[in-house]
Amino acid sequence: MAKEEKAEKAQFKRFFPAKKKVCRFCQMDVREIDYKNVDILRRYVPEKGKLSPRRTTGTCSFHQRRLAQAVKRARIMALLPFVAD
């Protein structure tokens, strides 16, 4: 079973190669991320209110650090939830 699945995955990758993700903050040339920009932060904290990892969003490490800082500040100011259910 496992082998078949692996082969399937490999085939899938061959026919649909992963699209290269680009950091959206770099594209917009943003230097600092403000914790008051809740609409932007919301995009990076889906459902449970957890910060989504770099591998899913494609954010670069520079902006991921800023983003994490901003989300944490927004949580303190009750703009974002610590836990959402």
């Binding site: 600092e32 008051k36 500040r73 100011m77 009750a78 703009l79 974002l80």
Partner: protein, 159 residues
């Protein structure tokens, strides 16, 4: 002197006048300690992401000011004593000059070098391409000549 931004959540059960008074007090503290209040941002009543002190709403105010470090310390000391302040957060504002300058310098230094090397590389490529083309042409000519020879030979054979 540094730029600070202090965000405050004021209890929603206060009247508008009381809220105004609170904000005035903050401004006075800043002014009395030789700070410059640049901007005052009022978001008004807004739903909290989670309840604080059993309130589900809060009145958001953000103050942007420039001062010495003792001003935010004094403000926060007052906030802690007050029951009407639900939350506060002071953030040091990056002036952005340092980082911007560094980046600008790097770009200025790297850009021309990159540009030159890129141009050179492009020129070399073009040269090599031209050479290849001439080679192809020559080989093509040779090929045609050979074909002619062959045709001649064939003709001879037929004859």
């Amino acid at each position: 002197m540094r730029h600070y931004e202090t965000g405050v959540i004021i209890a929603p059960n206060l009247s508008d006048e009381e809220i105004d008074q609170q904000i005035k007090q903050m401004a006075e503290v800043i002014a009395s300690m030789k700070g410059n209040l640049h901007r005052e941002e009022r978001w008004g009543k807004r739903k909290l992401a989670y309840p604080i002190k059993k309130f589900s709403d809060g009145y958001y105010v953000f103050l942007h000011y420039e001062s010495e470090a003792n001003v935010p310390a004094e403000l926060e000391r007052r906030f802690r004593q007050s029951d009407q302040i639900l939350r506060f957060l002071t953030v040091k504002k990056e002036t952005g000059q340092r980082r911007g300058l560094k980046k600008g310098k790097k770009e200025a230094e790297e850009a021309p070098q990159l540009g030159e090397s890129a141009v050179e590389a492009a020129e070399e490529k073009e040269k090599s391409r031209d050479e290849e083309k001439t080679k192809v042409k020559e080989s093509g000519a040779e090929f045609k000549e050979r074909e002619k020879d062959r045709d001649k030979d064939k003709g001879k054979e037929v004859l």
